[in-house]
Amino acid sequence: MAQLVVENLKMYYHTRNGQVRAVDDISFTLEAGRALGVVGESGCGKSSLGLTLLRLLPSNGRVVGGSVRLGSDELMAMEEEAFRKGVRWKRLAMVFQGAMNALNPVLTVGSQIAEAILAHEKATKEEAVERAKKLLEMVGINPARYSHYPHEFSGGMKQRAVIAMALACNPEVVIADEPTTALDVMVQAQVLKAISDLRQRLGLSMILVSHDLSVVAQTCDDVAVMYAGKIVEYGPVEEVLVNPKHPYTQGLTQAFPDIRAERAPIVSIPGTPPNLLSPPSGCRFHPRCPLADARCAAEEPVLEEKGAPGHRVACHYVSKSGEVAEVKFA
């Protein structure tokens, strides 16, 4: 069952120098109970995508087209009042990047979770406290720590508490923006484990935004690879990350060698990501792509299914049957 359907979504930031096309014609479907990873580098629009879905854009960010449906409700057309009361946090929640550093230092962690419940639901104080303790337990924190302050928590515990907070109103979909960035490997593993356990227990649907392919490989069912405001490749992780077809995805996977793999030469993708004020014509990756020709510079490739079922790619060099031109970055 489709839980969240995003169609042709466009969100631009209006600046003095023109429009920054951060989310540019993006479509995907999140099935109930599944986890979608959104990967890409800084400035590719992956965080903006999350903010757009939750309608938490800064004043210069505007949705200029497309639709987002949650169940049967169209979110982008909804009145702000109705969205705030009925959707945000209740059905669609978010764990922000660096949220663990945004906990209020003078309030106990537990009371901040209870407060989130009281702000959105008709519950008594006692009920909220009870639920907050349960939420802490769900993310693997002893409920006895309800009345501890943020400085008494380690980084990993704070991050898990913030995840518990996002779950306060039993949302259907959780968007997590770089939930483990800046955590040490063992702590990262603990947080990801907590997220995986929660998904299984609660049947949560999730969008996980990350720059780290290994995080997505280990926690998600599907992956969308974003480059310069667009999805360039999309499909099940076992497909996209194992048989990457788009030259950019191939570059990313080559630049992320597995630790257990043989020692490999260092790989880089030439050039730098484009400025989204004036993205390149045609395929946005063409100035950096070893395969690019005149067609790539002129004609924008469509994201379409090629070869394996559900595996969609936007590249002129991938044939209809999914035949790929292998690209070796050096």
Partner: protein, 352 residues
């Protein structure tokens, strides 16, 4: 650990750096001197023309170690032997002259350069301080060469830009050029790519690698990323709570980690292969406070193999295989455990 071979450029013996804490009345009365024991008896060496990775989690003391090597922080005790000379004994002036041969590249390219200077002046500054360029022309020539070395070309175009006009990757190249302009023998690079995107970081790493291979530079590469160290460095030293727990060739260390901490660190690294879904949550607990580290082996409160001996006796770094050192009382047991774990999860195929 001693390795006084001619190919060793830098050798560190029992290096200690404590940061004193403010003393409470009780501590003054008792004569106690509380301190954060950031680096607490570290020994290692760097050969000429090699990349040594110094790997560990936040707060393990890896950055402090790098800074002490250049005496940007004064060591509390220990020896730092650079090209046969103990540099802890040098005067400020002698040290200043020696820095021509030892340079550092910092983590944050946004924070490590003066925004009011253009690229030319940033890169030329070490030359000016060292008084190495006789004329403006010579200075220009040497700056241009350094910029070409880090592939900031066309050089003339970059010379007169300001840091704000450069991307993160370009700034980090400027930082490397600034270190290179003095033609040093040894560079400490402290997380030089951790703030850069993957597609960009490869370019920086390749420049460093080329300089090491072509010029016989030695590089101490400080990183939290074991995966990166494994592919980039010739040898790796793993730090935990102010001490080196294991040191060896990258391949050997990754394929046959001897120390329980290295084993756990390895296991916690996520695979990029989605067909092998496995999240290993590592050791129990968190890294203890370096102001009050555990007795004996510092890992013992978190180590699955810990016994009474580990609680009381600090294990020394011992060479268990040629060039492979580990500081653990129970290396045999740790290796058995590793073999058992590998037998349980059959043939991990390399991904990609």
């Amino acid at each position: 650990m001693t390795a006084s071979q001619p190919d060793v450029l830098l050798e560190v013996r029992d290096l200690v750096k404590h940061f004193p804490l403010r003393r409470s009345i009780r501590e003054i009365v008792r004569g106690e001197r509380p301190a954060v024991r950031a680096v607490d008896g570290v020994s290692f060496f760097v050969r000429r023309g090699e990349i040594l990775g110094l790997v560990g989690e936040s707060g393990c003391g890896k950055t402090t170690t790098g800074r002490v090597l250049l005496r940007l922080e004064e060591p509390t005790s220990g020896e730092i032997i650079f090209d046969g000379q103990d540099i802890t004994k040098l005067s400020r002036e002698e040290m200043r002259r020696l820095r021509r041969r030892m340079q550092i590249v910092f983590q944050d390219p946004y924070d490590s350069m003066n925004p009011n200077l253009d690229v030319f002046r940033i890169v030329a500054e070490p030359l000016r301080i060292q008084g190495l360029a006789k004329s403006h022309e010579e200075m220009e020539e040497r700056v241009a060469r350094a910029l070409a070395d880090v592939e900031l070309t066309p050089v003339e175009e970059f010379m007169h830009r300001y840091p704000r006009e450069l991307s993160g990757g370009q700034r980090q190249r400027v930082a490397i050029a600034r270190a290179l302009v003095l033609e040093p023998d040894f560079i400490v690079a402290d997380e030089p790519v951790s703030m850069l995107d993957v597609s960009i970081r490869g370019g920086i790493l390749k420049i460093l690698q080329r300089l090491v291979r072509e010029r016989g530079l030695s590089l101490l590469f400080i990183t939290h990323d074991l995966s990166l160290a494994r592919h980039f460095c010739d040898r790796i030293a793993v730090m935990y709570l102010g001490k080196i727990v294991e040191q060896g060739a990258s391949d050997a260390l990754v394929h046959r980690p001897h120390h329980p901490y290295t084993q756990a660190l390895m296991e916690a690294v996520l695979s990029t292969d989605p067909r092998q879904k496995r999240i290993y949550t590592g050791l129990a607990g968190e890294i203890p406070n370096p102001a009050n580290p555990p007795s004996g082996c510092r890992l013992h409160p978190r180590c699955p193999l810990a016994s009474d001996r580990c609680r009381t006796e600090t294990p020394p770094l011992v060479e268990h295989a040629p060039g492979h050192w580990a500081a653990c009382h129970f290396v045999e047991k740790a290796l058995e455990r590793l073999a058992a774990a590998e037998a349980a999860s059959p043939a991990e195929e390399p991904a990609g």
